[in-house]
């Protein structure tokens, strides 16, 4: 173990960078952009040492840091990562690069505030994934809403005020209930340490209430049907960078919350209510898949597709509850790891798709599918890349989209045939809505003069999309390193949740 506070650096480097950019003022956009880029690149490079220094053989928390924070409430500044959180931190620092690059030429108003908001948010998101103290976790979790609120509201589309208020109030509602549950757990255990929460015994009633409180917070974030309605609005109105961060990282926090808090703290309640979660996940996969098919707005379509894909994540996380009762641990591991891979993969793919739509929107200022048609004729390179991302979104083997979905479906077969049947429907729906989107936007005759006047991607856009395409491909063909990282932690999680806490 090294004593260098790597996680703190990862958290506070972007936050301090953001504060500096903010202090630069709105008069100096170029300086703001370069400071933002340099900071995010350094953060990303620094986060790579998480990978190199990570011990794959243990489920224990690594890179741990502990310092007293609010001693009156026994709140500690406690950080650490395991195989579940480390990949997500890497995803965050990686995606943050593209957010800065995506806003480079597009954002014209108050550039420094835009960059600062994203950088501060990056730091806070890394904080969520590395916090091991319940209050620290909550502080990062909530503080993140503030920059996002501003981002959607200031740089968003025409209905941005409605969308951003809805986004804030929805997520805030979910999380304050979680706050009450966390304080309740503190009153019971006398500590805010998440790892203490994991082992503290709780009665079934307590577990049920706490589980439901957590569920409210995480289900809104994921989002799960029926509390998903904020997402399409927020996505549609957010600027491209905002949509990317929302889809690629923020949604993952809900999933992460389930594996870090819900499952280990309330395993018995999770077991009792697994039908509910599995049911809601299947609704998301099937029903939302159909809803996506009916969308006329590209961003909305991808937003609904995100909900459907996140349904796989929650399905993967709660299938083990059904599987473990049959004593099937190998399928359980398959399900959880499938869910985790799906999170990473969806982060890359949905981020890329939103960037693609951003590329089109910057040129045409329309998100309506109907305003496009035949884009491939004028933007061939772009079309090739977008088709690639669309196919990986539909779960084409060889891309990362396939790996997670396939693992979850495989595991669900062993739990119940109907789970598998319903979840596999997404392969059809997913292919239907993404390919249909591609057909209407990219292919066919050139639809109108505006499309005819389009120019292909410039170097900046090309770079972003190509790097993402490469990572989607690598993860699809060779996901083994990711499994290596997660394996020990998943094993330990499964072992933990198979024991009753009553």
């Amino acid at each position: 173990m090294n004593s260098f506070p790597l996680l703190s650096v990862l958290i506070f480097l972007p936050i301090v960078g953001g504060a500096i950019v903010l202090a630069l003022g709105t008069e100096r956009p170029t300086a703001a952009k370069w400071t933002a880029l340099v900071t995010t690149v350094i953060t990303f490079v620094a986060s790579l040492s998480l990978v190199t220094g990570f011990d794959r053989s243990t489920a224990a928390m690594q890179f741990a840091e502990t310092a007293p924070w609010i001693s009156a409430f026994e709140i500690y500044y406690r950080l650490g990562v395991d195989g579940l959180s480390m990949p997500l931190i890497l995803l965050t620092t990686f995606i943050a690069l593209f957010v800065v690059i995506a806003g480079w030429e597009v954002i014209k108003v108050a550039v420094s505030q835009y960059m600062a908001a994203f950088m501060i948010m990056e730091g806070l998101m890394i904080g969520v994934f590395s916090a091991l103290d319940a209050m620290l976790f909550y502080v990062f979790w909530e503080a993140m809403l503030i920059p996002m609120f501003i981002i959607i509201g200031v740089w968003g589309g025409p209905r941005r005020v409605y969308a951003t208020l809805k986004f804030f109030l929805y997520t805030f509602l979910g999380s304050v209930v979680m706050l009450a549950a966390l304080i309740y757990l503190y009153v019971q255990t006398g500590s805010f340490n998440l790892l203490d929460f994991h082992v503290t015994p709780l009665t079934m009633n307590e577990q049920l209430y706490i589980f439901i409180a957590f569920l409210l917070a995480f289900a809104v974030k994921v989002p799960m049907w029926p509390v998903h309605t904020w997402l399409p609005d927020a996505h549609v109105e957010a600027p491209t960078g905002g949509s990317v961060v929302l889809a690629a990282i923020m949604l993952k926090m809900g999933g992460y919350g389930f594996v870090r808090l819900s499952l280990p703290i309330t395993p018995d309640a999770s077991r009792t209510l697994d039908w509910l979660l599995i049911g809601l996940s299947l609704v998301a996969v099937v029903y939302i898949g159909l809803v996506a098919l009916a969308q006329k707005d590209m961003k909305k379509l991808i937003a609904y597709s995100s909900i459907a894909h996140m349904g796989y994540v929650t399905l993967g996380f709660f299938l083990p509850m059904a599987l473990l009762s049959q004593g099937n641990t190998s399928a359980s591991a398959l399900a959880v790891e499938g869910g985790m891979v799906q999170m990473i993969s969806h982060g890359l793919i949905s981020g890329a798709l939103f960037l693609c739509i951003g590329v089109l929107y910057d040129r045409m200022h329309s998100r309506e599918i109907a305003s496009y048609g035949g884009v491939a004729n004028t933007m061939p390179i772009f079309a090739a890349l977008m088709v690639f991302f669309a196919l990986s979104n539909a779960g084409l083997p060889g891309t990362s989209g396939f790996v997670g979905e396939f693992m979850v479906i495989l595991a669900s077969f062993q739990a119940n045939f109907w789970y598998a049947f319903l979840s596999a429907l997404t392969l059809i729906f997913g292919a239907a809505y993404t390919l249909w989107l591609v057909k209407r936007v990219l292919y066919g005759e050139v639809a109108n003069d505006n499309v005819a006047a389009l120019t292909d991607v410039n170097r900046r856009e090309m770079f972003m999309l190509a790097v993402l395409a490469l990572s989607v491909l690598v993860l699809g063909v060779w996901p083994a390193p990711l499994f290596d990282v997660m394996h020990a932690s998943v094993e330990q999680l499964l072992e933990h949740i198979s024991l009753s806490k009553l």
Binding site: A72, F73, V139, F149, V161, V176, I183, V187
Partner: protein, 482 residues
């Protein structure tokens, strides 16, 4: 019968401030400057002097003096020190406001200092009569301050309402105190505690005591502005000159807290199970009414008035836990609230100018384009009042909700967190106006250097004390000997 000279040293800060206030009053007679610069600096100097005396006596062991009327303990020190700071901040903010509106008169400073003196007496009260004396000194100064802009009909109306309702509440309090005197034979808070303890659980079924308790509670919560005794709050906040609203919204809340802490939490500990339930009801009502009605407000001062009512609900949550731990939670909340409220009223004063009051929410529109720095300060204040981390308001909510949960009021704690979501709506509306709307007013923001500096520090304090809350929490804990 022998006459003992009281230990004047105990009340050195009060005596000093009283003397200085009289000096300020007299010196002001000879000041012919329209801006009252001398009076202003002399007032600040008096506060600084009192602060030095109090700070010097911190750490000396608790002592009761003046025949049991007066106590100087940790809580008194902490509350006094905090009141000095808040009054000084309020005076700094007031100065420009008064100058712009040609209200700069020496009486303003004298009345503010008397109000501060009232709070100090309450903070150190160890006897029902000294509680009452302090309260009346505070209230009378505030009544006069509300009517300070004598040409404003709204202000006169507000002052009238405040005076009539406030007098009724004082009467109720006094009536409750007299019933207690009849039942226990003492007005000394220490003796009262032992008298009630001697009665034990029987005290809780004693009709006279319960009646007295109800009257006292009405009087006390009126001063705090809890529902259903909140009717005066919006009108007074709205009608009073903003600099006076600032004093009522911040400094007088410390006084009201001292009142409830001394009388209920300390003097009537034995009756806690009874008054706790009453407080729980008042807290729930204040949360719901304050927050729901605030949504409908378009005037920022009225909105902050209703928001103050809801914050009172949170303050009361702390008292649900018995003993010093509960007082500590509430005390921390009061301090956090004062910091936030003084910043918010400071912003209203900052944006206003001669002939223009920035007290509508719409006056803040597009502030981010006019001045990103002040918009950021107001953003932090609003998110802090909502209770979003990492600001001080969150830590304050955390401490009172913990107190409610530890006392077993799970439902009330849930209500409190859910109501803070509803509250988010109207706080966010201010943020929305500042950041998402276009500015209507392009007048450059002008303010004196001291105002800009103090407001900046005030805004940053909301963030810094939220990230490093231990200093203020430890201050509260030490004050209560935890």
């Amino acid at each position: 019968m022998n006459f003992e000279l009281p230990q004047f040293g105990l009340a050195a800060a009060e005596i000093f401030l009283l003397t200085m206030t009289c000096v300020v009053l007299i010196v002001d007679l000879f000041v012919h400057d329209d801006e009252r610069t001398v009076t202003y600096w002399l007032s600040l100097l008096s506060i600084a002097g009192a602060a030095a005396i109090t700070a010097f006596s911190v750490g000396t062991h608790d002592a009761v003096g003046f025949s049991g009327m007066f106590v100087n303990d940790g809580m008194a020190h902490a509350l006094k020190l905090f009141s000095y700071v808040m009054t000084a901040v309020a005076l700094v903010y007031s100065r420009q406001y008064l100058r712009d509106r040609l209200l700069a008169r020496g009486e303003y400073y004298v009345l503010a200092l008397f109000a501060l003196l009232g709070i100090m007496v309450m903070a150190s009260a160890h006897h029902m009569l000294s509680v009452y004396l302090g309260l009346e000194l505070l209230s009378l100064s505030l009544y006069a301050l509300v009517a300070f802009d004598r040409d404003s009909p709204v202000a006169s109306e507000a002052a009238m309402k405040y005076f009539v309702l406030g007098s009724i509440a004082s009467g109720t309090l006094l009536y409750g105190i007299s019933i207690f005197y009849g039942a226990t034979g003492t007005l000394d808070l220490g003796a009262l505690t032992s008298a009630l303890a001697a009665e034990g659980p029987d005290a809780r079924t004693n009709v006279a005591l319960m009646l007295g308790l109800a009257f006292i509670l009405v009087g006390v919560t009126f001063k705090l502005g809890a529902v259903p005794f909140h009717m005066w709050v919006p009108d007074v906040y709205h009608g009073a000159p903003t600099s006076v609203t600032l004093l009522i919204g911040t400094v007088s809340k410390i006084g009201a807290f001292a009142l409830i802490a001394r009388v209920l939490a300390e003097g009537m500990q034995e009756l806690q199970p009874t008054w706790r339930d009453m407080i729980a009801v008042l807290a729930a009502l204040s949360l719901v009414v304050g927050i729901v009605v605030a949504i409908a407000q378009t005037n920022l001062k009225r909105m902050l008035a209703y928001s103050a009512i809801s914050h009172v609900g949170f303050i009361l949550l702390g008292f649900l836990t018995l003993g010093p731990a509960g007082i500590e939670a509430s005390m921390y909340y009061v301090m956090a609230y004062c910091i936030m409220a003084s910043g918010a009223f400071g912003m209203i004063i900052l944006l206003g100018r001669q002939g223009y009051e920035a007290d509508e929410i719409a006056s803040f529109s597009g502030l981010n384009q006019r001045s990103p720095w002040y918009a950021l300060i107001m953003l932090m204040l609003m998110f802090s009042m909502t209770g979003v981390p990492p600001f001080i308001g969150f830590i304050a909510k955390l401490s009172v909700i913990r107190s409610a949960l530890a006392a077993g009021f799970t439902g009330l704690a849930l209500l409190a967190v859910l109501m803070s979501v509803v509250a988010a709506f109207f706080y966010l509306r201010v943020v929305k106006t500042m950041y998402f709307d276009e500015p209507q007013d392009h007048t450059p923001i002008t303010a004196g250097r001291s105002m800009r500096l103090v407001l900046g520090v005030n805004g940053l304090a909301v963030l810094v004390l939220g990230i490093f809350p231990s200093s203020l929490i430890d201050l509260c804990r030490r004050a209560l000997g935890l």
